[in-house]
Subunit: 397 residues, 2 copies
């Protein structure tokens, strides 16, 4: 039997990147490719305790079917969390839904807003998981380039004027893959543009609580007077990704449609995980927990940057993140970046080629690669950077 698949799924072709990531799954390879939180950042003991208590005290609440919007107590707690920590929930206008990880939040935004052929704007580069989710809905992605402070405002305005996009997808804090943080100035300007051109903003903030340097910048959602911002958060980086719990704060009509969409996707999110997230949010000393996370990631990031400073060729540029999980390295134009990434594997090191993160794989060129510092051990970081530093000599002419 020859199967005919949908156009949208066929457009998601396996690429050279997948090939590299597949080779990188070998446990002997130093995994700068990961997007995982550091295992020492996952409070396993706390989760074990909460899980045992829940299954002891209210097993049927945790095991029967539940409602699509999410565990009511968690929804209420998250409304408060969003409002107080991020000014990202307006009690008069917004509502909140629990999703199966922020990935589902991203997908639901696309499902409820986009017809096939609609345009979605994104930072270029941006998170490949989200880009593929958009692609799987048959939308056209248009990337907007940027610099250390976030996307370029003239380019963003031009794109909004030209393409009439449904929304602009942005990760303002410690972006994946670039590690960059959008400045407060740019956030205000981006919001003003969204308002002027009637474009929604999909603000994805999975790393916001992982800041270890610099000053917090308010969310774009905090500026949202007109109901233009769909704000997504996640427990994957502050609690545990295996639980698959994320959430969306957005104007109530959008959440209502997302609820209809989610009903057809998975009925509801694993309810035990939602109940664990609720206890985490209300019973754990969060400022202390977040301070602990900052310690872990600060150390890892400082280590990788100091090794890179010491060993990398000076022609290689890289970002200096104030939080999150990633450093973004860029070769001079014309370098065979993909060749470099491929050659690193037999040397025992894996990084993700920048082409994984471009909006348009057919036309966008990348000389960058992404490095994760949360997953490899300290020893692996030191050893891996030395290997990459040696290898890059062959690729820099």
């Amino acid at each position: 039997m020859n199967y005919t698949f949908s156009d949208k799924i066929v457009s998601l072709k396996p690429s050279a990147i997948r090939e590299i990531l597949k080779m990188a799954s070998d446990p002997s390879i130093i995994p700068f490719t990961a997007g995982n939180p550091s295992s020492e950042a996952i409070p396993a003991e706390v989760i074990r305790k909460f899980s045992a208590e829940i299954l002891e005290q209210e097993p049927m609440a945790a095991l029967q079917y539940s409602i699509t919007e999410g565990y009511p107590k968690l929804r209420e707690a998250l409304k408060g969390f969003c409002r107080e920590r991020y000014q990202a929930f307006d009690g008069e206008r917004d509502d909140l839904i629990i999703t199966s990880g922020a990935q589902q939040a991203i997908e639901l935004a696309c499902k409820v807003l986009c017809n096939e052929g609609d345009v979605v704007l994104c930072e270029n580069p941006s998170f490949v998981g989200s880009l593929n989710s958009f692609r799987s809905y048959g939308v056209t992605l248009k990337g907007v380039a940027g610099d250390e402070d976030g996307v370029d405002m003239a380019a963003l305005e031009e794109a909004m004027k030209t393409y009439h996009p449904k929304f602009f997808y942005v990760i303002p804090n410690f972006q994946n893959p670039s590690g960059r943080t959008m400045s407060w100035q740019r956030r205000q300007e981006a919001y003003a543009l969204a308002k002027r051109y009637g474009v929604l903003i999909l603000e994805d903030n999975p790393y916001g609580d992982l800041r270890f340097a610099g000053e917090p910048v308010p969310t774009i959602k905090s500026l949202d007077e007109e109901g233009l911002v769909i704000y997504c958060g996640s427990f994957s980086k502050i609690l545990a990704p295996g639980l698959r719990v994320g959430f969306v704060s957005a104007p109530a009509p959008i959440i209502a449609k997302m609820t209809v969409g989610k009903q057809g996707s998975d009925v509801h999110t694993n309810i035990l995980a939602q109940m664990i997230a609720y206890r985490f949010l209300t019973e754990v000393d969060l400022p202390r927990h977040f301070a602990g996370l900052a310690e872990i990631y600060r150390h890892k990031c400082e280590l990788i940057l100091s090794e890179m400073d010491r060993q990398f060729d000076k022609r290689v540029a890289y970002t200096r993140p104030q939080g999150g999980l990633f450093v973004w390295c860029t070769f001079p134009e014309g370098t065979d970046m993909t060749g470099f990434c491929r050659a690193a594997i037999p040397q025992g090191v894996a990084v993700v080629p920048g082409t994984a993160f471009v909006a348009n794989e057919a036309t966008d060129v990348s000389y960058s690669f992404r490095m994760n510092y949360s997953t490899p051990s300290d020893e692996q970081i030191v050893k891996g950077i030395a290997i990459l530093a040696r290898l890059m000599r062959d690729y820099l002419k």
Copy 2:
């Protein structure tokens, strides 16, 4: 701000059914509306034990990111389970993916196979959750009517010839909502038609292990020589629905595309739940567990049927299921079925109007309603049937 939603989500209109279901959520109402397994059928103690052991012995495996295809040990165990219990896995040709409930399996089938405007065939009536999932992908649903033995074969052939559908969606065992089981003869004929017309079959078997009467009928998948059948199963009715763990056994190229689709939907299914399902499958005495479930549902079903036999007007027809959760009641043509369902609420009883389950809400008429017997207590069943029996006198002329 006025939001413009996607055509596919706008087409999922809230209807009179939702209004009735909303009213039915009042805990004082006798819930014949539910689709939940009986709470006494959920082995909470076993789940508590497995969960504690997993979080004690291998917390990071349960809490870190995992792979999209699913927990490898669970996938292997399920391949064996499908093969041995249902002849529903061909080791040479098929592969298997873990999904976030069977609902996601249904959605993924549509995502990978259907373009907007493609036709999907379904039994008429069929499970509203699946129908809405199909609708959310912009497909055209065509319903095929049937009788006690399943869909009508002439009608199925006519529909395959006329519409060139992508697949035929069918729940052969104890169908939702009708409670009917498709005969072995019809399963063979349906497979032969699928083969003749090159149509895939999406076989949904969430209730297969809940048989309490009659003889097991082999799955359609067991006939699958040509790689035409996508088989979905679930832990929702045999373990716990709150865990959200389902699976698909299908030809490897289909599973490969589903994996790409799932990556963009939720990355992977909650991994602790998958590990619990694995232990359940390999450490629990399944024949004994299934026998226990049969006891629970046999008792409930016999009780509701005997009360209906005793009290319902003889002009009301209803099915006599051999398993599963539902009885399907049908008024004589012309009865105001929706009025009856609505009037039951202030009397303290809720049932689901048959219009919820039709393929085309605009054209298909229903005089039926669905009753669940697994959720109400014995007392509620006796009391609720008496109320309905009294009320229906007003609606039968």
